[in-house]
Amino acid sequence: MSAKKWDKFAVGVLYALSIFIVLILFSLLAFILIRGLPQISWEFLTQPAKSFQVGGGIGIQLFNSFYLLFLTMLISTPLALGAAIYLSEYAKQNWLTDIIRTAIEVLSSLPSVVVGLFGFLIFVIQFDFGFSILSGALALTIFNLPLLTRTIEDSLQAIPGVQREAGLALGLSRWETVTRIILPAAIPGILTGMILAAGRIFGEAAALIYTAGQSAPALDFANWNPQSITSPLNIMRPAETLAVHIWKINSEGVMPDGAQVSAGASAVLVLAVLLFNVVARYLGKKLQKKATSA
């Protein structure tokens, strides 16, 4: 075959491979939505799950997922922000920084099930938090920290050095330069990174099955006393999330309409993650425009 024919052939193959990938995504989405959307109703989204009968919902699991997400972000954002500021603004190029960067890289490469088991060992057993939202949120924080730190550091690094020099030249300390000039300018990037991290946390299950537990006790949504076990706000109660719920239904098989419930729950999960993605893009662009008044 001549070089030109090879060229045509290769380009054809590349087109085929790419089309195949696009087809995979569309068939996945179509499958989830076609199977799942008919299951979704107000009842389904608000009713508690039933294990041996038809017609259970995902209300408690959905609430648990959001509550856990909120708590995780509440713990991990300040930590990641501080760590990112240190790495981006203060860290010198020396052995200490090398160790720190290696540690973060190692953490991000650990399988989430290992992080979950560590959470089980330390938070659930050693600290005696039991299977609880608190244990789950701490495990998810560990899971979330390396990526969040890196995205925040990247957005800080993306601010041009002249802004720092301008701040220092005005007589501001380095800390003031960071908090008054660099951080506000980096907000669009940081927010985008946070929302994408939220999407990852929302779908995570392996780190949660042995930390937040696999049961969802009934909640009384009128009870706002955080001490009470039926209160949705209580952080010491076991809390099965939506992702864990899907896993559990499918590996236990005691729910007669398990396939329908998991289809509906999967659709909700995927839609939520899609929403996080779209919001992150939109917000990032919008804030960028506002900040640069372009």
Binding site: Y86, G203, I246
Partner: protein
Amino acid sequence: MEEIQAKLLGNSKKGRLEKLGKTVSFICIAIIVFVVVSILYFVTSKGLSTFFTDGVSFWGFLTGSVWSPGNVGENGQPLVGALPMITGSFLVTLLSAVLATPFAIGAAIFMTEISPSTGKKVLQPVVELLVGIPSVVYGFIGLTVVVPVVRSVFGGTGFGILSSTFVLFVMILPTVTSMAVDALNSVPRYYREASLAMGATRWQTIYKVVLRSAMPGLLTAVVFGMARAFGEALAVQMVIGNAALMPTSLVTPASTLTSILTMSMGNTVMGTLENNVLWSLALILMIMALFFNILTRWIGKKGAMK
């Protein structure tokens, strides 16, 4: 006089603020490092207690093919051979990487060399969405679609290494693709221009110039995909069948390190042999994650020297 002296020689208000800020941000990073060190320490010490506290032979654990913790074999040693799970993990990782690599690199070439505009408008969002789909959803789809299809085409129960390979293939595809795109994008433009100016066709340029100079980056991408496949727990656990037996074919139920871990951890009591061997499995997982990490660093270094 002394007041002025103290004011001049001591730290200013701003100086104190600066110190406070630096300390606080350093504490944050120290917490992260501390967490990493304690994960490494606790998993290692728990994982090693099988060998030091319970006296299981290290070699027997790695090469034994019978997994039945709680039962004792003929030689008086507990039956805790982890070889079936180790084999399962390596098989699904290698097979899915072999399957995903051509697709991922093909799509990456398409996005960077053939049609960057379509790549950016269509493939980029597709890849990002595929990354975002949670692993339990992949597992659920694997259970309801892949397993029945494998069952009707290849026979058996449908649960097994083949189904896991297909599920992992889709899961690591976006990771490998987006990293391969970065690798191809970092090849300088003038390499391509020089090659085209010498009369090479587009494919010759891609094959002989772009792919070769991006090789370290592409390898890193594949290793990352393998690391993700090796550590994936729930999606695999849902479709592999979870039988702790040496895999005899690709369509019989098998197990991986992660699948046995998620299945059994809740059914054992802390401190017993049954529980400690599970931590040994976790230790293998962690060591492999570190190994993949070192491998990517090594590839990066090798590639940078050229």
